[in-house]
């Protein structure tokens, strides 16, 4: 089961060369990953652009640039995506302000109202 917020409580951690967080798809169906416009991430006011983020869904990993090519990659509605963000220093242990803006192209909504952008801010904790 996933957490109700788009930004998941678990999965926020330092990694070699950056940090990770998990998102659930805040939408009612799974998607061809090609429909993703990407996600920007902000931690305590420090911004990370969408093209810096590496995505992992299941056992497959990709960048937004990869999605310009046709692909059968999917983001199921009941599975989280792991966003890997490069950063020189590890995030400090403790609470952080995390904001994510996720953009997705909807074909059935007039183009001038697109993309659809979900925005969420949460406090997340780095434990080590």
């Amino acid at each position: 089961m996933l957490d109700e917020p788009m930004i998941q409580t678990g999965g926020f951690r330092n990694t070699d060369g950056g940090f990770e967080l998990r998102l659930r798809l805040p939408y009612y169906r799974g998607l061809w990953a090609n429909l993703l416009e990407g996600a920007t991430v902000e931690v305590d006011g420090e911004g990370f652009p969408a093209d810096a983020v590496r995505w992992t869904i299941g056992d497959r990993s990709f960048t937004i640039a990869d999605l310009r090519e046709p692909s059968d990659l999917r983001w199921p509605v009941d599975r989280p995506a792991v966003l890997s963000v490069p950063r020189d220093e590890p995030l400090a242990v403790g609470e952080h302000d995390v904001t994510v803006e996720l953009g997705i192209r909807m074909s059935y909504i007039p183009e001038e109202l697109q993309p659809s952008i979900w925005i969420e801010q949460r406090k997340l904790v780095i434990t080590r």
């Binding site: 089961m1 509605v77 074909s107 059935y108 109202l113 697109q114």
Partner: protein, 296 residues
Amino acid sequence: MSAPAWEYGVSLYSYTGEFGVTKTLDDVIEDVADLGATGLEILGEAHVEDYPNPPAAWVDAWFARNERLGLTPTCYGSWIDTRRFPGRDITEDEAVEQLELDLRLAATLGFRYLRPKLGVVTADLEPHPVWETATERVLELAAEKDVVICPEIHWPSVIRSKVVDDYLAFIDRTGTEHFGLLMDTGVFQKSMHGRRGGTPMRMGNGGGRPPITPVVPVSDLEDVLDKVVHVQAKFYCVDDDLQDHYIPWAEFLEVLHRREWRGYLSSEYEGDYATGRAADQLRRQHALLRSLSATL
């Protein structure tokens, strides 16, 4: 006149925000049976595990569960994502490939109806022209699988519109029995319901406004009802006194009854997000619909 000939179903769309968060697929399907419905509608891309290639064990469990609960698969929702690839529209071949994939999967799971949600090309929601050429190319497969393709008449589109005229002309021109209309009752909403809850979302630069649409009289349904193969009984709120202030159910059911319409009223809750609210609202709506039907 005979008793109402329709049956009651639920679309799993109703549990958006809870599916995968507080409820599993088993939970939501059990709930549909528990509230007394017999028709089960799903969204292929939401509810089929490992879409578009579900494991054989999942398919076996699908049929076993439906048999145990007395549920019949009704409509399978699909999408033609015309903007799937950045910078270009999908090709006709790509649209055909998507439609074929969903037709085969819907048939494998025992569905009779397939609702493709179409990409649009104008502010007033004219569908991408690929719908017509691609649909024509899969009509033979639809006939072979005996699945009826039914695009929806859905707010903010109205019944008396070019898009609906084009669908009807397509049926006339091809003579197909495997294309029809899906009527979404949100078209008849008397006022807009602002949905609360869920992750905040904006569309585009945020400057867009929801379209202003006329109130569609239920009498317009009479023009197209003989081509309507499935009803998505869209609703937003049934209050504590079992009143729905948005959708005119009594008028709607009167037309269906007088015209002896057969098919499923498949409930689609689209009100506020809150844990447990969909299950409660679905029960209220079914109580309301069944009460009104008993007076016809």
